[in-house]
Protein backbone atom coordinates (compact mmCIF):
# COMPACT_ATOMS: atom_id res chain seq x y z
CA UNK A 1 0.00 0.00 0.00
CA UNK A 2 1.34 3.43 -0.86
CA UNK A 3 0.69 6.26 1.49
CA UNK A 4 -1.35 9.12 0.10
CA UNK A 5 0.28 12.52 -0.23
CA UNK A 6 -1.08 14.70 2.51
CA UNK A 7 -0.29 18.36 3.09
CA UNK A 8 2.18 18.83 5.93
CA UNK A 9 -0.17 21.18 7.82
CA UNK A 10 -2.71 18.40 8.09
CA UNK A 11 -0.22 15.72 9.03
CA UNK A 12 1.23 17.71 11.89
CA UNK A 13 -1.12 20.43 13.08
CA UNK A 14 0.74 23.45 14.36
CA UNK A 15 -0.82 25.46 17.12
CA UNK A 16 -0.33 29.11 17.90
CA UNK A 17 1.53 29.05 21.18
CA UNK A 18 1.11 32.78 21.67
CA UNK A 19 -2.47 32.41 22.76
CA UNK A 20 -3.50 30.92 26.07
CA UNK A 21 -6.14 28.26 26.37
CA UNK A 22 -9.30 29.79 27.79
CA UNK A 23 -11.63 28.51 30.47
CA UNK A 24 -14.96 26.74 30.20
CA UNK A 25 -17.36 25.73 32.94
CA UNK A 26 -16.87 22.48 34.88
CA UNK A 27 -20.53 21.80 34.12
CA UNK A 28 -22.81 19.64 36.26
CA UNK A 29 -20.93 16.34 36.00
CA UNK A 30 -17.42 17.21 37.21
CA UNK A 31 -17.65 14.72 40.04
CA UNK A 32 -16.69 11.80 37.80
CA UNK A 33 -13.47 13.53 36.78
CA UNK A 34 -12.50 15.35 39.96
CA UNK A 35 -13.70 13.06 42.75
CA UNK A 36 -10.48 11.05 42.94
CA UNK A 37 -8.75 14.03 44.54
CA UNK A 38 -11.48 15.08 46.96
CA UNK A 39 -9.72 15.77 50.27
CA UNK A 40 -11.66 16.86 53.34
CA UNK A 41 -8.61 16.39 55.54
CA UNK A 42 -5.41 17.98 54.26
CA UNK A 43 -3.29 16.75 57.16
CA UNK A 44 -1.43 13.57 57.93
CA UNK A 45 -0.99 12.24 61.47
CA UNK A 46 2.32 14.03 61.98
CA UNK A 47 1.59 17.39 60.34
CA UNK A 48 2.82 20.06 62.75
CA UNK A 49 0.52 22.94 63.63
CA UNK A 50 -2.88 23.87 65.01
CA UNK A 51 -5.56 21.58 63.62
CA UNK A 52 -8.54 23.56 62.41
CA UNK A 53 -11.81 22.93 60.66
CA UNK A 54 -13.37 25.40 58.23
CA UNK A 55 -17.01 24.96 57.30
CA UNK A 56 -19.56 26.98 55.42
CA UNK A 57 -22.19 27.20 52.74
CA UNK A 58 -22.17 28.52 49.17
CA UNK A 59 -25.20 30.70 48.36
CA UNK A 60 -26.49 31.93 45.00
CA UNK A 61 -28.24 35.22 44.21
CA UNK A 62 -31.48 34.09 45.87
CA UNK A 63 -29.60 32.78 48.92
CA UNK A 64 -30.34 29.27 47.72
CA UNK A 65 -27.50 26.92 48.70
CA UNK A 66 -25.45 25.67 45.74
CA UNK A 67 -25.29 21.86 45.83
CA UNK A 68 -22.85 21.45 42.93
CA UNK A 69 -19.89 23.68 43.69
CA UNK A 70 -16.33 22.62 44.23
CA UNK A 71 -13.66 24.47 46.22
CA UNK A 72 -9.94 24.02 45.76
CA UNK A 73 -7.66 25.12 48.57
CA UNK A 74 -4.00 26.04 48.59
CA UNK A 75 -2.15 27.21 51.67
CA UNK A 76 1.19 27.35 53.46
CA UNK A 77 2.14 25.09 56.34
CA UNK A 78 2.11 26.24 59.96
CA UNK A 79 5.46 27.95 59.52
CA UNK A 80 4.25 29.92 56.50
CA UNK A 81 6.03 27.89 53.83
CA UNK A 82 4.56 26.42 50.68
CA UNK A 83 5.22 22.86 49.58
CA UNK A 84 7.06 23.30 46.29
CA UNK A 85 8.70 19.89 45.95
CA UNK A 86 7.13 17.80 43.15
CA UNK A 87 4.99 14.94 44.45
CA UNK A 88 5.55 11.44 43.17
CA UNK A 89 1.90 10.51 43.56
CA UNK A 90 -0.97 12.95 43.74
CA UNK A 91 -1.42 13.94 47.38
CA UNK A 92 -0.67 10.65 49.03
CA UNK A 93 -0.91 10.88 52.79
CA UNK A 94 1.51 13.69 53.50
CA UNK A 95 0.54 17.34 53.91
CA UNK A 96 0.88 19.29 50.68
CA UNK A 97 -1.37 22.25 51.41
CA UNK A 98 -3.79 21.33 48.64
CA UNK A 99 -7.39 20.32 49.15
CA UNK A 100 -10.48 19.87 47.03
CA UNK A 101 -13.94 19.74 48.56
CA UNK A 102 -17.39 19.62 47.00
CA UNK A 103 -20.54 21.11 48.47
CA UNK A 104 -23.24 18.70 49.58
CA UNK A 105 -26.97 18.76 48.82
CA UNK A 106 -27.34 21.59 51.32
CA UNK A 107 -24.60 23.65 49.68
CA UNK A 108 -22.31 23.01 52.63
CA UNK A 109 -18.61 22.22 52.59
CA UNK A 110 -16.05 21.53 55.29
CA UNK A 111 -12.39 20.71 55.53
CA UNK A 112 -9.81 20.05 58.17
CA UNK A 113 -6.24 21.27 57.96
CA UNK A 114 -3.51 23.00 59.94
CA UNK A 115 -3.74 26.74 60.30
CA UNK A 116 -1.22 28.30 57.93
CA UNK A 117 1.44 30.56 59.37
CA UNK A 118 2.04 34.17 58.27
CA UNK A 119 3.69 34.27 54.85
CA UNK A 120 6.71 36.48 54.20
CA UNK A 121 6.37 38.13 50.82
CA UNK A 122 9.04 40.11 49.00
CA UNK A 123 8.04 43.66 48.35
CA UNK A 124 4.57 43.55 49.86
CA UNK A 125 5.38 42.74 53.48
CA UNK A 126 4.09 39.95 55.66
CA UNK A 127 0.79 38.36 54.82
CA UNK A 128 -1.56 37.24 57.57
CA UNK A 129 -2.40 33.53 57.61
CA UNK A 130 -4.65 32.77 54.66
CA UNK A 131 -5.93 30.04 52.36
CA UNK A 132 -6.30 30.61 48.63
CA UNK A 133 -9.55 29.30 47.18
CA UNK A 134 -10.66 28.53 43.61
CA UNK A 135 -14.41 28.05 43.20
CA UNK A 136 -15.82 26.07 40.31
CA UNK A 137 -19.44 25.18 39.54
CA UNK A 138 -22.00 24.82 36.82
CA UNK A 139 -22.92 28.38 35.85
CA UNK A 140 -19.39 29.72 36.25
CA UNK A 141 -17.50 29.91 32.98
CA UNK A 142 -14.30 30.91 34.73
CA UNK A 143 -13.11 30.00 38.22
CA UNK A 144 -13.69 32.42 41.07
CA UNK A 145 -10.66 33.23 43.19
CA UNK A 146 -10.93 34.27 46.82
CA UNK A 147 -9.05 34.00 50.12
CA UNK A 148 -9.89 32.81 53.60
CA UNK A 149 -8.40 34.76 56.53
CA UNK A 150 -9.06 34.05 60.21
CA UNK A 151 -10.92 36.35 62.61
CA UNK A 152 -8.51 35.71 65.51
CA UNK A 153 -5.36 36.90 63.71
CA UNK A 154 -4.06 40.34 64.70
CA UNK A 155 -1.96 40.37 61.51
CA UNK A 156 -5.09 40.88 59.41
CA UNK A 157 -4.89 44.63 60.08
CA UNK A 158 -1.57 44.85 58.23
CA UNK A 159 -2.21 42.31 55.50
CA UNK A 160 -1.50 43.93 52.12
CA UNK A 161 -4.24 42.02 50.28
CA UNK A 162 -6.95 42.66 52.89
CA UNK A 163 -5.95 46.32 52.97
CA UNK A 164 -6.42 46.52 49.21
CA UNK A 165 -10.09 45.60 49.64
CA UNK A 166 -12.73 48.22 50.52
CA UNK A 167 -13.17 48.19 54.29
CA UNK A 168 -16.84 47.21 54.30
CA UNK A 169 -16.17 44.16 52.10
CA UNK A 170 -13.19 42.73 54.01
CA UNK A 171 -15.41 40.73 56.34
CA UNK A 172 -16.37 38.44 53.45
CA UNK A 173 -12.77 37.16 53.38
CA UNK A 174 -12.55 36.43 57.11
CA UNK A 175 -13.59 33.09 58.58
CA UNK A 176 -15.17 33.62 62.01
CA UNK A 177 -13.93 31.61 64.96
CA UNK A 178 -16.89 29.52 66.16
CA UNK A 179 -17.44 30.39 69.83
CA UNK A 180 -19.08 27.03 70.45
CA UNK A 181 -16.31 24.91 68.93
CA UNK A 182 -12.62 25.45 69.51
CA UNK A 183 -10.49 25.47 66.34
CA UNK A 184 -13.55 25.67 64.13
CA UNK A 185 -14.15 28.53 61.73
CA UNK A 186 -17.20 29.45 59.71
CA UNK A 187 -16.84 31.03 56.29
CA UNK A 188 -19.63 31.34 53.72
CA UNK A 189 -19.55 32.27 50.07
CA UNK A 190 -22.17 34.66 48.70
CA UNK A 191 -22.02 34.66 44.91
CA UNK A 192 -24.18 37.77 44.61
CA UNK A 193 -26.22 40.22 46.66
CA UNK A 194 -25.67 42.59 49.53
CA UNK A 195 -22.95 40.45 51.07
CA UNK A 196 -21.27 39.34 47.84
CA UNK A 197 -17.93 37.75 48.65
CA UNK A 198 -14.82 39.50 47.38
CA UNK A 199 -13.49 37.69 44.33
CA UNK A 200 -10.11 38.48 42.87
CA UNK A 201 -8.63 38.98 39.44
CA UNK A 202 -5.28 37.26 39.21
Amino acid sequence: MTEPKIPEALVRPVSDVNLVTSYQTVGPYFKIGLEALYRHDLTSPNTPGQLIEVAGTVFDADLVPVPDAILELWHADSSGRYMVEPQTKPFEDSFVGFGRVPTNEGGQFHFRTVKPGPVETDGSGRQAPHILVSVFMRGLLYRLITRIYFSDEAGNADDPVLRSVEFHRRDSLIAKADSAHRNRYVWNIFLQGENETVFFEL
Binding site: V20, Y29, G33, M83, V119
Partner: protein
Protein backbone atom coordinates in the same frame (compact mmCIF):
# COMPACT_ATOMS: atom_id res chain seq x y z
CA UNK B 1 16.61 21.07 50.18
CA UNK B 2 13.75 21.78 52.48
CA UNK B 3 10.64 20.92 50.47
CA UNK B 4 8.92 24.03 51.78
CA UNK B 5 11.60 26.40 50.49
CA UNK B 6 10.37 29.14 48.24
CA UNK B 7 11.18 28.75 44.55
CA UNK B 8 14.31 30.68 43.60
CA UNK B 9 12.88 32.27 40.52
CA UNK B 10 10.26 34.87 41.31
CA UNK B 11 8.01 35.02 38.28
CA UNK B 12 4.83 36.81 37.50
CA UNK B 13 2.23 35.50 35.10
CA UNK B 14 1.08 37.72 32.28
CA UNK B 15 -2.45 39.07 32.11
CA UNK B 16 -4.93 37.41 29.77
CA UNK B 17 -5.42 39.12 26.42
CA UNK B 18 -8.69 40.96 25.83
CA UNK B 19 -11.65 38.66 25.26
CA UNK B 20 -9.76 35.45 26.02
CA UNK B 21 -11.44 34.82 29.37
CA UNK B 22 -15.17 34.27 29.24
CA UNK B 23 -17.13 36.71 31.40
CA UNK B 24 -18.70 34.92 34.31
CA UNK B 25 -21.97 36.81 33.94
CA UNK B 26 -23.27 35.61 30.58
CA UNK B 27 -27.09 35.69 30.27
CA UNK B 28 -27.08 33.38 27.22
CA UNK B 29 -25.73 30.74 29.62
CA UNK B 30 -28.74 30.78 31.91
CA UNK B 31 -27.15 29.18 34.99
CA UNK B 32 -24.66 32.04 35.18
CA UNK B 33 -27.35 34.62 35.98
CA UNK B 34 -27.81 33.61 39.63
CA UNK B 35 -24.29 32.37 40.19
CA UNK B 36 -21.88 34.83 38.62
CA UNK B 37 -20.72 37.66 40.87
CA UNK B 38 -21.89 41.14 39.84
CA UNK B 39 -19.31 43.33 41.57
CA UNK B 40 -15.98 44.02 39.84
CA UNK B 41 -13.16 41.61 40.64
CA UNK B 42 -10.48 43.02 42.96
CA UNK B 43 -6.93 42.87 41.55
CA UNK B 44 -4.82 40.38 43.48
CA UNK B 45 -1.03 40.74 43.55
CA UNK B 46 0.91 37.64 42.55
CA UNK B 47 2.58 36.75 45.82
CA UNK B 48 4.29 33.51 46.73
CA UNK B 49 0.83 32.16 47.54
CA UNK B 50 -0.34 32.55 43.94
CA UNK B 51 3.02 31.62 42.39
CA UNK B 52 3.16 28.18 43.98
CA UNK B 53 0.93 25.16 43.57
CA UNK B 54 1.05 21.38 43.65
CA UNK B 55 3.47 19.87 41.12
CA UNK B 56 4.41 16.30 40.29
CA UNK B 57 7.37 14.28 39.11
CA UNK B 58 7.03 13.75 35.34
CA UNK B 59 6.84 10.10 34.26
CA UNK B 60 9.82 8.83 32.24
CA UNK B 61 7.68 8.49 29.15
CA UNK B 62 4.17 9.45 28.13
CA UNK B 63 1.75 7.50 30.33
CA UNK B 64 -0.44 4.94 28.58
CA UNK B 65 -4.05 5.90 29.26
CA UNK B 66 -6.89 3.89 27.76
CA UNK B 67 -10.54 4.57 28.53
CA UNK B 68 -11.84 2.20 25.87
CA UNK B 69 -11.47 -1.04 27.81
CA UNK B 70 -14.02 -1.68 30.51
CA UNK B 71 -14.39 -4.35 33.16
CA UNK B 72 -16.45 -6.58 30.85
CA UNK B 73 -15.12 -5.68 27.42
CA UNK B 74 -14.69 -2.90 24.95
CA UNK B 75 -16.60 0.36 25.35
CA UNK B 76 -19.10 1.10 22.60
CA UNK B 77 -18.46 3.87 20.14
CA UNK B 78 -15.80 5.30 17.87
CA UNK B 79 -12.29 4.90 19.31
CA UNK B 80 -10.15 8.03 19.13
CA UNK B 81 -6.65 8.98 20.24
CA UNK B 82 -6.22 12.40 21.83
CA UNK B 83 -2.73 13.75 22.35
CA UNK B 84 -0.96 17.02 22.82
CA UNK B 85 1.33 19.04 25.00
CA UNK B 86 0.89 21.35 27.94
CA UNK B 87 2.94 24.47 27.19
CA UNK B 88 3.15 28.05 28.30
CA UNK B 89 2.73 31.09 26.06
CA UNK B 90 6.45 31.10 25.34
CA UNK B 91 6.35 27.51 24.13
CA UNK B 92 8.00 26.07 27.24
CA UNK B 93 6.90 22.56 28.10
CA UNK B 94 4.97 22.21 31.35
CA UNK B 95 6.37 18.94 32.65
CA UNK B 96 4.91 17.04 35.57
CA UNK B 97 1.53 18.68 35.65
CA UNK B 98 -1.59 16.79 36.62
CA UNK B 99 -4.34 16.57 33.99
CA UNK B 100 -7.80 15.19 34.77
CA UNK B 101 -10.37 14.50 32.06
CA UNK B 102 -14.02 13.50 32.03
CA UNK B 103 -16.61 13.10 29.30
CA UNK B 104 -19.93 11.60 28.20
CA UNK B 105 -20.08 8.20 26.52
CA UNK B 106 -20.77 7.64 22.82
CA UNK B 107 -24.51 8.08 23.44
CA UNK B 108 -24.06 11.43 25.16
CA UNK B 109 -24.58 10.22 28.73
CA UNK B 110 -22.32 10.77 31.75
CA UNK B 111 -21.79 8.15 34.41
CA UNK B 112 -23.24 10.57 36.97
CA UNK B 113 -26.33 10.26 39.15
CA UNK B 114 -27.60 13.70 38.13
CA UNK B 115 -27.43 12.95 34.41
CA UNK B 116 -30.98 11.91 33.57
CA UNK B 117 -30.66 12.11 29.78
CA UNK B 118 -32.56 9.21 28.26
CA UNK B 119 -29.58 7.58 26.56
CA UNK B 120 -27.90 4.33 27.56
CA UNK B 121 -25.02 4.05 29.97
CA UNK B 122 -22.16 1.85 28.85
CA UNK B 123 -21.02 -0.61 31.54
CA UNK B 124 -17.57 -0.57 29.95
CA UNK B 125 -17.07 3.17 29.93
CA UNK B 126 -16.44 5.42 32.94
CA UNK B 127 -15.35 8.45 30.90
CA UNK B 128 -12.71 9.67 33.32
CA UNK B 129 -8.95 9.47 33.76
CA UNK B 130 -6.01 11.40 35.16
CA UNK B 131 -2.36 11.53 34.18
CA UNK B 132 0.81 13.57 34.59
CA UNK B 133 2.60 15.19 31.62
CA UNK B 134 6.07 13.91 30.75
CA UNK B 135 9.29 15.94 30.61
CA UNK B 136 8.22 17.43 27.28
CA UNK B 137 4.75 18.29 28.55
CA UNK B 138 3.20 15.51 26.49
CA UNK B 139 0.12 13.44 27.19
CA UNK B 140 -1.92 10.92 25.19
CA UNK B 141 -5.06 8.93 25.82
CA UNK B 142 -7.33 6.59 23.94
CA UNK B 143 -11.02 7.08 24.44
CA UNK B 144 -14.44 6.95 22.80
CA UNK B 145 -15.65 9.96 20.88
CA UNK B 146 -18.22 11.56 23.21
CA UNK B 147 -21.78 12.04 21.99
CA UNK B 148 -23.67 15.33 21.85
CA UNK B 149 -26.45 15.66 24.40
CA UNK B 150 -29.42 17.91 25.13
CA UNK B 151 -29.51 20.35 28.03
CA UNK B 152 -32.16 22.71 29.28
CA UNK B 153 -30.49 26.05 28.75
CA UNK B 154 -32.94 27.07 26.01
CA UNK B 155 -35.40 25.40 23.63
CA UNK B 156 -33.82 22.44 21.80
CA UNK B 157 -30.40 23.13 23.28
CA UNK B 158 -27.64 20.58 22.58
CA UNK B 159 -24.06 20.62 23.76
CA UNK B 160 -21.45 20.01 21.07
CA UNK B 161 -19.29 16.93 21.67
CA UNK B 162 -16.61 17.77 24.21
CA UNK B 163 -14.10 16.42 26.69
CA UNK B 164 -13.53 18.28 29.99
CA UNK B 165 -9.89 19.01 30.90
CA UNK B 166 -8.57 20.06 34.30
CA UNK B 167 -4.92 21.18 34.35
CA UNK B 168 -2.91 22.45 37.33
CA UNK B 169 0.12 24.03 35.68
CA UNK B 170 3.06 25.17 37.80
CA UNK B 171 1.15 27.53 40.14
CA UNK B 172 -2.20 28.46 41.63
CA UNK B 173 -2.19 31.27 39.06
CA UNK B 174 -2.16 28.81 36.14
CA UNK B 175 -4.98 26.51 37.29
CA UNK B 176 -7.22 25.83 34.30
CA UNK B 177 -10.44 23.93 33.69
CA UNK B 178 -11.69 23.90 30.12
CA UNK B 179 -13.37 21.80 27.42
CA UNK B 180 -11.99 20.34 24.20
CA UNK B 181 -14.27 20.38 21.15
CA UNK B 182 -14.11 18.56 17.81
CA UNK B 183 -13.46 20.13 14.39
CA UNK B 184 -16.51 20.53 12.18
CA UNK B 185 -19.06 20.13 14.96
CA UNK B 186 -22.28 21.65 13.62
CA UNK B 187 -23.42 22.57 17.14
CA UNK B 188 -20.53 24.90 17.92
CA UNK B 189 -22.14 28.07 16.49
CA UNK B 190 -25.19 27.52 18.71
CA UNK B 191 -23.42 26.78 21.98
CA UNK B 192 -23.50 29.63 24.53
CA UNK B 193 -20.69 28.08 26.58
CA UNK B 194 -18.26 27.85 23.63
CA UNK B 195 -19.32 31.28 22.37
CA UNK B 196 -18.91 32.93 25.76
CA UNK B 197 -15.29 33.49 24.71
CA UNK B 198 -15.44 36.66 22.62
CA UNK B 199 -11.96 36.40 21.10
CA UNK B 200 -12.33 34.20 18.02
CA UNK B 201 -8.81 32.72 17.92
CA UNK B 202 -9.14 31.92 21.64
CA UNK B 203 -12.43 30.16 20.95
CA UNK B 204 -10.91 28.18 18.13
CA UNK B 205 -8.01 27.11 20.33
CA UNK B 206 -10.53 24.94 22.19
CA UNK B 207 -11.18 22.92 19.03
CA UNK B 208 -8.85 19.96 18.68
CA UNK B 209 -7.18 19.44 15.28
CA UNK B 210 -7.54 16.24 13.32
CA UNK B 211 -4.07 14.71 13.46
CA UNK B 212 -3.27 12.28 10.68
CA UNK B 213 0.11 11.45 12.17
CA UNK B 214 -1.45 10.49 15.50
CA UNK B 215 -4.14 8.46 13.76
CA UNK B 216 -3.54 4.77 14.37
CA UNK B 217 -4.10 2.58 11.26
CA UNK B 218 -7.01 0.17 11.63
CA UNK B 219 -7.68 1.55 15.14
CA UNK B 220 -8.82 5.14 15.47
CA UNK B 221 -8.57 8.76 14.42
CA UNK B 222 -6.06 11.03 16.12
CA UNK B 223 -6.80 14.48 17.51
CA UNK B 224 -4.30 17.00 18.76
CA UNK B 225 -5.13 19.29 21.65
CA UNK B 226 -2.35 21.51 22.93
CA UNK B 227 -3.05 23.35 26.16
CA UNK B 228 -1.32 26.70 26.54
CA UNK B 229 -1.02 28.15 30.02
CA UNK B 230 -0.13 31.72 30.93
CA UNK B 231 3.44 32.82 30.20
CA UNK B 232 5.56 34.65 32.74
CA UNK B 233 7.47 37.86 33.16
CA UNK B 234 10.56 38.20 35.25
CA UNK B 235 9.88 40.54 38.11
CA UNK B 236 12.11 43.51 38.86
CA UNK B 237 13.24 41.63 42.00
CA UNK B 238 15.13 39.18 39.89
CA UNK B 239 17.04 41.88 38.01
CA UNK B 240 18.55 43.33 41.14
CA UNK B 241 22.28 42.64 41.51
Amino acid sequence: MNPFDAPQDRLVYRKFQEGVLPPNFCPAYVSSVKRAPRLPLVPLPQTISELTGPTFTPPESVQAVDLTKGAHGAAIGERIVVGGRVLDEDGRAIAGTLVEIWQANAAGRYLHARDQHDAPLDPNFTGCASFVTDAKGKFRFETIRPGEYPWRNHYNAWRPAHIHFSVFGPAFATRLITQMYFPGDALLPFDPIFNSIRNQPARERLIAAFDWEATVPEYGLGYRFDIVLRGRHETPMENKP
